[in-house]
Point group: C3
Amino acid sequence: MSKTNPGNFFEDFTVGQVIRHATPRTVTEGDRAVYGSLYPTRFAVPSSAVFAASVGLDPHPVEELVAFHIAFGKTVPDVSLNAVANLGYAECRFHQPVVPGDTLSTTSEVIGLKQNSNGKSGVVYVRSTATNQRGEVALDWARWVMVHKRDAAAPAPETVVPELAPTVAAADLVIPAGLDFSDYDFAAAGEPHRFGDYEVGEKIDHVDGVTLTESEHQQATRLWQNTAKVHFNVEARPDGNRLIYGGHVISMARALSFNGLANAQLVAAINAGAHTAPAFAGDTVYAWSEVLDKAETSAPGVGALRLRLVATKGRDESMTLRGDDGKYAAGVLLDLDYWVLVPR
Amino acid sequence: MSKTNPGNFFEDFTVGQVIRHATPRTVTEGDRAVYGSLYPTRFAVPSSAVFAASVGLDPHPVEELVAFHIAFGKTVPDVSLNAVANLGYAECRFHQPVVPGDTLSTTSEVIGLKQNSNGKSGVVYVRSTATNQRGEVALDWARWVMVHKRDAAAPAPETVVPELAPTVAAADLVIPAGLDFSDYDFAAAGEPHRFGDYEVGEKIDHVDGVTLTESEHQQATRLWQNTAKVHFNVEARPDGNRLIYGGHVISMARALSFNGLANAQLVAAINAGAHTAPAFAGDTVYAWSEVLDKAETSAPGVGALRLRLVATKGRDESMTLRGDDGKYAAGVLLDLDYWVLVPR
Amino acid sequence: MSKTNPGNFFEDFTVGQVIRHATPRTVTEGDRAVYGSLYPTRFAVPSSAVFAASVGLDPHPVEELVAFHIAFGKTVPDVSLNAVANLGYAECRFHQPVVPGDTLSTTSEVIGLKQNSNGKSGVVYVRSTATNQRGEVALDWARWVMVHKRDAAAPAPETVVPELAPTVAAADLVIPAGLDFSDYDFAAAGEPHRFGDYEVGEKIDHVDGVTLTESEHQQATRLWQNTAKVHFNVEARPDGNRLIYGGHVISMARALSFNGLANAQLVAAINAGAHTAPAFAGDTVYAWSEVLDKAETSAPGVGALRLRLVATKGRDESMTLRGDDGKYAAGVLLDLDYWVLVPR
């Protein structure tokens, strides 16, 4: 019998099944540096241990997306090795800052299954939880993917579609213990805009663009131990292109959003996310944001903004999400709905 | 009103103005590793904590250019986002070693302004100072850049051209506290050549060449949080090329100079620097050096060499800086005048 | 006289000569992160400090190949700068885990010389030893390279060909102090296969492939301070290609072998290695393994597998090492014979 991992097919999943993913991964200061070489990130909290300590975060956290990518990467060999498509995310919350020295492990529970009418594939819903070396939850999220069946003749499971919140309620956001923006240093952070300066419905063109390269997206994706073949192997797709990991586009867009959202220091939750078109090396990625909601929090000086972060191939100064037909506009790569914490 | 940073234009600067730059940045061991993956550096002090401690430097410093690039990168969004050209550096001194854990912040003072005769741009002179988390100066330097005017009709400011020293005087070099080359291990450092072996006027062909790639220069430039668009975006220049950050060429040439200058362990000052031609991915960079001056120092066993470091596109075994017309020879990319500390 | 390093030629070596190589190098957590961005490695011991401690390894070791590449890189400027070909390795043993903070230095002794019949080159045999900051041996190995003569008329030295073991005997493997696989967590490690599940003669197709890029192999090779020109300079070879450092292929194949050998946590020895064809950017590398031998060890729960690790350009599902003519099959890049430690 083969010793290599064929991945799970649709009929290998059952509702209630718990999968403990390999391999635990220790976060280091090296990850911060490599991340900083791959994305133009400048948010003051992850950039400066002194700034982070001044707002109550000591030891010095890494970006939430570092933790997200590591935790997510663990699930790939078991959940999405035979995926046709990554359909969505929901209910992703960051429960505490991740700091160098933390070791993350991920477990997933299958919370839903729905075979497609063609009988060749189905949708698998999982809730994944990443814990640290103390057994505390670092982050959790739900995700659904379309997965091939090994055998089209295998019987369909009972359909279970979980109820997932369209957005994390502001009251459910976890504010890091000790976070205090009362003495926030706006000059050090790079922009004067605070909670009160952002209006629901406001759109922000982040202006800057980055042209993607093969080496950079491969290095990023490997850093997260994400093993999906299509990202690394020109022989894995008929067109000979290496498909760029969707998370690379998320991190690039988040970093680009500094220009206009420099005070969006912490990501508190990801409400929803769609990778609406593939990205390849040579594409030039831009980003724009829309303020979807606002909420106060109980932490001193801390407000929450719910944002839509859109990555586009080529700059779209009109910031158009969808065409008249309701479909995503040409060039839209990513539509991410998330909560950030900003100074009030 | 737009929330994104348009950068400052010539008429936004006034002599005496002080700009506190975002965002503070903590240096880590990760930076040392990424730097070592991007440049072929082998100087024993930054390579080995044991070697560094043996010459009195404990904790283990990173290369001076790591500190320079980080400190310099901070100034870009405020000083040179609308720059036409980076005209020169002067009076750059390294005041103390920077070690992992240090957090650098940069402040600039406008020390001169001179509108160009065409009325469309002007030269801005700034003195920038990078301080660490204890408020101590890590390095400082002067720089002048040509910056666009927003409005050609804006009145010209009074012309103020600062007096800048053509070179840092040997007596003004700051020798790191505790530095002692008395028991210097030449075998470990890689070459036998000491202070007395270098003659003023001597030229050294560093022999080795490196072909530049897009990914590597982008990663380097991002690591320093340098956001200038032309380095990352093929849509930012009419020719569709990504211009390589001049500092990438400085670091590459400095690393290549190991072959012949292995004992030039520490950079004490940068007297002047000119980026004389653009560099692009695919160019193969070589370097040669000329000994411009020599000085003893008060530290045990420590001498100072003033060197000209020249980077060229393609190897020039003749080591020609300028043609008969007095202009830089074809292929010269960088002309850097700096002081290094070597064992006597 | 030139100050740059011309490298040693065949007639510069004498049997018994000891060469202390520059430059000592401190290993950091940054190296682990950069390594993880360059290779798809997921072995639980180097990935997780918690997992490593659970099997008795605390502080957290880096991969043995990180230590190997660093130690090996030191020898290049003195031993193989003028090499025609890297002919082989033998008797490489890892004497203790290398951890962040360790500083490695390498010394080589010339143990054999054999001039080629053409009189233009000869084979140099060296035994190299890398020691840490406590003077303890971290690893050692023998290696032989074909080196140019500077002057074909120079007299041939007496021929001395050292006796080198075809393989490190199982009894001579050094098991890291404290290593204990009694409570090994197979789920965390990623696969259920243990010592008893592997049969001598068994072959494992590791399935996954990675397309190589210029930036990545250059970054890897630089990280090890390996200065051989052919890896970095398109002007160094008539065909204008940058030859990929053989060690890059070793690390890539080792990382790919996770899929089927996830429990091959530690490399204990390298018995032999041959780089059978050059690799270039654009090649897609796959790997397969063959179990050559098995041995129990005195450490609790620890067995040893002797493996052949073969890297190929393009996937060869037939896993053919040699053709009917006895020569390496087309596409074979690497034939590496090594010992790993696995749970029993």
